[in-house]
Symmetry: C2
Subunit: 273 residues, 2 copies
């Protein structure tokens, strides 16, 4: 924990995203490439374990897995608290067997806490299949979302396609864009690659080949992440869309965690004006 605090102090990000990791047995028919390790509650981790870290925290709240009352009383506790709180809310994968609160109702409940800065999830891979993710983003903005976070970006074209349709829709209805925070994750092995694919992250075939056949998959992956980001960033600038970055390691492997530190530094230096 001390090491984690020291690392985050050194990196000094604008904010820290704390996920709530789900087992998601309902996802795909494939075995989970990495075993699921139950973790502590993300809010406890963010606000208690990392209490001494004075960086704004954005806590992920998964609503699909809990009844309405749990979410509702959580909103009450937030409203009672005397601070702004960043939260992004999503539901687990569609085929989840868990009964839970529909996303739209969670957003409606969240509006009762004006000190809550609500965010949503935007998934470019879903846009490739359905071509309506920009409409979902706009609907989530209507429902109160003020920023979006993507899953890990390895496919520049699908991310640009989502941003393109989003920019066109904003223009058509004269609205302002919400910031889209692009997530990037190092990939140090074929197993990690398989895990990311299991999570629903898409890789252009040539890029997957690069990772599979590189002598140093980890280093190659952060080079590739950087060039994917540069490509998407150029495009977003052209379209006057505000974007940000979020760097995470999808595994607990030391080398990948350390590579995520390097990747954060490389990408944030590109964000500087």
């Amino acid at each position: 924990m001390d090491q984690q605090v020291a690392r985050l102090r050194m990196l000094a990000p604008d904010g820290l995203v704390v996920y709530d990791i789900q087992d998601e047995p309902g996802r795909s028919g494939q075995a989970r490439p990495f075993p699921f390790l139950p973790t502590i509650d993300p809010e406890v981790y963010a606000h208690d374990a990392l209490a001494e870290l004075a960086i704004p925290k954005i806590v992920y709240r998964c609503v699909g897995a809990q009844p309405r009352e749990v979410f509702s009383s959580w909103i009450d506790s937030i409203r009672a608290a005397d601070r702004r709180l960043g939260v992004f809310v999503g539901a687990p994968h569609g085929r989840s067997p868990l009964p839970g609160l529909p996303l739209a109702e969670a957003y409606a409940l969240a509006r009762a806490a004006p000190n809550l800065v609500l965010g949503g999830i935007a998934i470019a891979e879903r846009h490739v299949a359905k071509e309506d993710e920009h409409e979902r983003i706009l609907a989530k903005q209507d429902a109160g979302c003020r920023f979006f976070i993507t899953q890990s970006v390895y496919d520049a074209a699908s991310t640009k396609s989502l941003l393109s349709d989003y920019a066109l829709s904003l223009h058509a209805c004269g609205r302002s864009p919400a910031p889209v925070v692009l997530t990037f994750s190092p990939c140090g092995s074929v197993r990690t690659l398989e895990f990311m694919k299991w999570l629903g992250i898409s890789f252009p075939r040539w890029l997957e080949n690069e990772l599979r056949h590189s002598a140093d998959t980890l280093e190659r992956s952060i080079d590739l992440c950087e060039s994917v980001f540069a490509d998407v960033q150029d495009y977003a600038r052209e379209k006057h869309l505000p974007i940000g970055i979020n760097v995470e390691s999808v595994s607990i492997r030391k080398a990948e965690v350390e590579a995520s530190v390097e990747l954060f530094q490389r990408l944030s230096s590109r964000l500087a004006p």
Copy 2:
């Protein structure tokens, strides 16, 4: 014709590709966006109409539409001729109702004429769906193909994916690459875009949006072609794959034909070492 000869003299390409245009009523279920205009035989056009043009010509020969005897006697006439002749051979779209010579038999017949420099077609869009286009390329090399020509490239990722799998296969079996000639075509209108899609050319959604919503579609298209080429060229260099360019206008519209001249000049200046 004089204008065409003057234009080609000015451009001074290494070679001229002369297509044999098919109506292809068997292609897709959609109406053909541009009407089919019967043209003169590509060989007559290349070697008679453009006889005064001392540029090597590569004539497209479509084998799906003609019986074995026609192709076979054509090969005899080539063998008898006292010159090297570039030809690339393909079959029309799979659902064509025309009976004709299978591609493999055409290649076998072509081997009887050693003065014939045989080329084949490589389609990245087919690779996205089936992931075996690199194997088809290698099989065509075995059958005597010494170069490949793509259809128009607007999708850098799928082209890089094909080149990636091709490079990996070559490496695995210790073989040398055949040059891949990448085709590029300006797109000056939504109608031309629809025609290219009808021809089977794929456009990433963001790029299609750029073309559809640009104030100057034609100029935007050649800028985009140039950046697609730069991307693919960087990748091909990294993989030590020899590539070339072929620029064509898919329509007979004056503005698009003129834009193809500009595009040729821009791309060929990037090819210079």
